[in-house]
């Protein structure tokens, strides 16, 4: 079998593939249902898959799940967008300009390793307990990932390309827009993908603080009041939405980098 053939078949929804896709999930669900039924896992803390599906339906028709999802997605995308835009802007400035690097680099290098959740107390004091602090937490997390990737992308541009541009006496704007940024694009998009994953993590952390809606709050509140089925529905919803958002970023990556030749796996 050639690489090409296998690559094609790995993407299609043929019967074999659907079977292969479902092997692990179905077996995991079976083990889970079994473990709860025979009492390995206490029913009081972990609901069985069938209970979860029933509860999922209940939360869907009561509109609760939609409300929590809506609140979470709003926070997630607001934070992620703010983080992405500021990350690319500051990253580009530091990447392009020695002055920018000298002015900002030391500060950002110290701030970047701080785990975003450590900002929570400061965010509560400065931005309050409303939406602001939650969005800001996600934005901080996304910002540093994208910022670092942008700087790296710009500074990693092949010198041959910049030399050619300079040889043709291209302006700084042209050099930036048509050489440096496109060359940094794969890095920036990878950063966006990582940042989106991190945003979900931070969203769940943020929604534990002073919330009354959102999927993270649903998970937390259900755990607080021993409602394991609600808790697992919340986790499942985050998993599925996380996968969808990741696929969306990959699609964006493919579209934006359609000129880019990379290794596509065997």
């Amino acid at each position: 079998m050639s690489f090409r053939l296998r690559f094609e078949s790995a993407r299609g929804f043929t019967l074999t593939n659907i079977l292969l896709y479902s092997v692990v999930p179905v077996l995991l669900l079976m083990v889970w249902e079994f473990a709860v039924r025979v009492g390995w896992w206490p029913k009081t803390l972990i609901a069985s898959p069938l209970d979860v599906i029933y509860d999922l339906w209940q939360l869907l028709i009561s509109g609760q799940l939609i409300r929590h999802t809506g609140a979470s997605l709003f926070r997630l995308f607001s934070g992620f967008l703010i983080g992405t835009i500021t990350g690319v802007l500051f990253g580009s400035w530091i990447g392009l300009s020695k002055l920018g690097e000298k002015l900002l680099s030391p500060t950002f290098q110290v701030l970047a390793p701080i785990p975003p959740v450590a900002w929570i107390p400061l965010l509560i004091i400065t931005l309050g307990i409303g939406e602001g602090s939650k969005i800001a937490l996600i934005a901080i997390g996304a910002f540093f990932v994208i910022f670092v990737n942008t700087v790296q992308g710009i500074r990693g541009t092949d010198q041959k390309l910049t030399e050619v541009a300079l040889l043709y006496e291209k302006s700084h704007t042209d050099l930036t827009l048509f050489v440096l940024l496109p060359s940094a694009a794969p890095n920036i998009l990878t950063g966006m993908r990582v940042a989106l994953g991190l945003s979900w993590v931070l969203l769940i952390a943020a929604e534990v603080i002073a919330s009354s809606d959102g999927l993270g709050w649903l998970i937390w509140d259900a755990r607080n009041f021993s409602r394991p089925d609600d808790m697992l529905v919340g986790m499942l919803a985050v998993g599925i939405l996380g996968k969808i958002s990741d696929s969306a970023i990959i699609a964006l990556q493919k579209y934006a980098l359609r000129w880019y030749q990379g290794f596509k796996g065997v």
């Binding site: 079998m1 292969l20 803390l45 107390p121 004091i125 307990i129 002073a210 509140d221 009041f225 021993s226």
Partner: protein
């Protein structure tokens, strides 16, 4: 199906079967009745655990339990869910907490028993010292911080109900005490339902004052894991005996007790002194207290906070089995 796919599928199936079999083998020999260590926990920072803190600092638990050849370990829980999770999975044996978390756990089917009581006190609500609010009924439409599921959460709802407010009249903000403190001091919430010493810290700092007390009673309890109480009634009785000894000592030596609590919780002694008289250190698990806990269980179930009703007398407070010595 290609050969590789077939191998993969059968490999995963074999793996799962192995895991299931191993699980069965290991679950068989897990639970041994003999016990080497009793694990005692407490929740958050509160003055109402004073008997526990005194007994712990004087090593009375060790003194009493080592007679029976058992060691003691201590843990502090910063949030509520891990307490019930630890009870259910046998990772903690006894916890000093208030009754609502025990009621919530019991309603979810976790076997928890209340075997002792540290003290009783009345729930208070504090408002910023600059606030114009004078009584609970004026809290309508205000933002109130409270940690969901705690005794103070119950107390807040109860006070609101007594003041003629419904749940929708209050904006309840779920915050852990340290976060609530920042929110309260920066004016982001209009009130805070919490327990001592958090209340007194705000009063002494001049940042808050309490509203006139309602009638929401809080009982600080000693909860144990059901299977622990059934398998080791003698150890459970020893815990109660130590608790009673500590309560008596506290009543007879209030100033030393306050000093110990201030030290153990790393608090300003003034804060401890201010809160001291709010606690009834002679409280017992009387019928009146049982009735009050039952009223709480009913209230929480009417509120929809818990899904199932709890019968306190039959489910939560069971007498410890008489010890049969061979």
């Amino acid at each position: 199906m290609t050969k590789r796919a077939k191998y993969t599928v059968s490999g995963v199936i074999v793996l799962i079967i192995v895991v299931v079999i191993l699980g069965f083998l290991f679950s068989g020999g897990k639970k041994k009745p003999s016990l080497e260590t009793v694990r005692i926990g407490s929740f958050s920072t509160a003055i109402d655990y004073a008997p526990y803190l005194v007994a712990k600092s004087q090593k009375w638990f060790e003194e009493e339990l080592r007679k029976q050849g058992v060691n003691v370990e201590y843990t502090t829980f910063e949030s509520l869910p891990p307490i019930n999770e630890s009870f259910e999975t046998g990772r903690v044996d006894a916890v000093f907490e208030a009754e609502p978390p025990a009621i919530v756990g019991r309603a979810a089917g976790i076997d928890i028993r209340i075997i002792g009581i540290s003290c009783s006190l009345t729930q208070e609500i504090i408002v910023p010292s600059t606030s114009t609010v004078k009584e609970a009924s004026e809290l309508k439409g205000k933002k109130i911080a409270v940690l969901a599921g705690t005794s103070s959460h119950y107390g807040l709802l109860k006070i609101a109900q007594a003041a003629g407010l419904t749940n929708n009249d209050l904006k309840i903000i779920d915050l852990r005490p340290p976060d609530a403190k920042s929110a309260f001091e920066t004016g982001q919430v209009d009130g805070w339902a919490v327990w001592p010493p958090w209340v007194e810290q705000e009063i002494i700092a001049g940042k808050g004052r309490v509203l006139p007390k309602g009638d929401a009673q809080i009982h600080s309890i000693l909860a144990v894991r059901g299977p622990f109480a059934d398998a080791h009634p003698d150890l459970a009785s020893s815990l109660v005996a130590v608790l009673e000894r500590a309560k008596e000592w506290i009543r007879n030596h209030p100033s030393e007790a306050q000093q110990i609590v201030a030290q153990e919780l790393n608090l300003d002694p003034k804060v401890v002194a201010l809160s001291w008289s709010k606690h009834a250190w002679d409280a017992q698990l009387t019928d009146a207290v049982t009735t009050d806990i039952q009223a709480k269980a009913d209230f929480l179930s009417q509120q929809g906070t818990i899904r199932r009703a709890v019968n306190v007398k039959t489910d939560l407070i069971k007498p410890l089995q008489a010890v049969v010595k061979p």
